[in-house]
C-alpha cells in the first residue's frame, strides 16, 4: 500500500502509488494546473463554471537540465529537472527519476517516490520515461 500523497491538493495517489494530477477546467474548455477555487486565468470563470479535472499525467519534455544547487536534503544534488508539456496543455516543472537518457521531445509520465517529510512517509510526484515501470 502506498504512502499518502505529499500534496493532495495537487495530485491524488492510489494504493499502488500511481498519481492523478488534478487540473482546472473552465466553461470554455481551457485546462490549467493546478485546480484552485480563485478563478480561471484563461477567462476569469469562477464558482460553478470551474471544475476539477483529472489529468492523464503524461506529457512531452520541452526542456531538461541538471541542477547543482542543494534545495532539499531528501532530494540531494545534482538532480534532473524538466519542463513537461502535459497532453492536456499546461506546462509544469518536475524532478525526473530513472531518466538518464531523457532529452527534449521525450515522452514522460507521472509516478511517485516515497519520501520522509516531518517523520512521515509520503508519496511525492516525479516524472519518468513513459516506458519505464517503477
Amino acid at each position: 500500500m502506498s504512502a499518502p500523497s505529499a500534496q493532495p491538493d495537487l495530485y491524488q495517489v492510489d494504493e499502488s502509488g500511481e498519481p492523478t494530477l488534478i487540473g482546472l477546467k473552465d466553461s470554455s474548455g481551457s485546462v490549467s494546473f493546478p485546480f484552485q477555487i480563485y478563478g480561471s486565468e484563461h477567462n476569469g470563470d469562477v464558482g460553478e463554471k470551474i471544475s476539477p479535472v483529472p489529468l492523464a499525467g503524461t506529457g512531452t519534455v520541452s526542456a531538461v537540465v541538471d541542477v547543482h544547487i542543494p534545495v532539499d536534503p531528501a532530494l540531494g544534488f545534482p538532480y534532473r529537472l524538466a519542463s513537461v508539456v502535459l497532453d492536456e496543455g499546461p506546462m509544469i516543472r518536475s524532478v525526473l527519476v530513472d531518466a538518464p537518457d531523457v532529452t527534449i521531445g521525450s515522452r514522460v509520465r507521472a509516478v511517485t517516490v516515497p519520501v520522509t517529510r516531518d517523520d512521515v512517509e509520503v508519496a511525492e510526484l516525479r516524472f519518468t520515461p513513459e516506458e519505464v515501470v517503477t
Binding site: Q36, Y38, G44, D45, L81
Partner: protein
Amino acid sequence: MKITLAQQRPVYVAGVGWHPFQKPSATPYVQLGLTAVRQALDDAGLRWADVDSAYTGTAMLGMAASRPLYKHLGVTGIPMLQVENASASGSTAFRLACHDVAAGTSDISMVLGVDKMPTAQGASNDTGVPSLDAAYVPPPAHFALLASEYLERHGATPEQLAAVAVKNSANAALNPNAQRPKARTLEEVLAGPPIAGPLTRLQCCPIGEGAAAVVVVSDDAIDELGLDRSRCVRVLASVLRSEELYGAKSFDAELTRAATADAYQQAGMGPDDVDLVELHDAFSIEELQYVEAMGLAAEGKAAADLEAGEFSLGGRVAVSTSGGLLSSGHPIGPTGVGQIGEITTQIRGEAGARQHAGARTGLAHMVGLGAVCAVHVLQSVEGPR
C-alpha cells in the same frame, strides 16, 4: 507648472467592495482581495475586462502581490502597480489611480487595499494556491530550463551562451559602479562552478546592495530653473505591462515582446532606431531571448549576432554597457534606476572608456516577479541619429 487633480478631467468613484475586516486568520491575501474586487465590480456594473489599470496598496505583504491575485479574474495584460506608503498605502494607491484616469491614460482603474501580517516569504509564494515546483525550481533552474530549450531550438552552443557574460564583464570592468568589475574570458566563465544546466556561476547575476537615483524634470522646470538643456535626456516612452498567457513559451520573453512593441509605438520608432539597451540579464540566457523579443536580432540569431560583436561597445546596438545585471549587479530596488542613469550618461556622451559612439536613443528594460515588465525609451534632446 504643476497641475492638480481638479485641473484635469473629472474622475468619479463608481463601485465599492469589501472583504470584512477580521482577526488574523488562515485566509490567503488572494481570497481577501478577490472578494473585495469582485464586489466592487458588481457594484459598479463592470467586468474585469473593462479595467485599464490596477493599483494595489499594501504595506506588509512583501513584493509581487498584484498579479498573483488579479490573474484569477482572467488575465488582460493591464498595468499593475503595488503601492507601499505605510498607513497611507491605500490612500496613495487611490491618488495614483485618480491621476491615471484624470490624465487620460486609463478610463477605469481598480484600487485595492489588502494586507495581512507579514510572512517569511514574499506574497507571490503565499497566494494559497499550492505549487508543484516551488521547492525544486529556484530562479537559476528556471532560467536553465529556458536555456536548454533555446539551445535545442536554435542550435546555439553553451559557448555562445557564455559569451553574454564575457561581453558584459568587459563592460563592467569599465564601470566604477559595477559589483563585478572584472573582465572574464570565455574559459573563466565556462569553468564554473556549474549552477543549473548550461549556466555557470558567472552566468548568474550577483545579489548585493547599492543605490541609484535620477531626477525627472519638466520643460517648465528646465526653463524656470535654468537647467542645462543639453545635458537633459527626454523620456519618449514609458510602458508597464503584466503577464498574459503564452502557452509553454517563455513568459518573460513574450511579455518583453509586448511591452517593447508598445514602447516603440509610443515613441514613434522601431528597433532600428535603438542605439543602446540596458536589459534584465539576471541570467545569460535572458539577453539572447530579450534582444530577439525586442526585434534587435532575428529569431534564433542573437547568439550569432553577439558573437559577431553587434551588441558590444561600438557595435550595431550596444547591450548592457553598464555590465548588465550579470556584472554590474542586481541589488533589486536600485537596478532599474541604475539602467536609466547608465543610458542618460551614454546619451550625454559622458561614459568615458565605456562610451558607445553615437548613443542617441536608448531603451531600458526590466522584468519583475509576478510577472511584470517595464520598458522606457530615452532620447537625446537633439533627436535620433
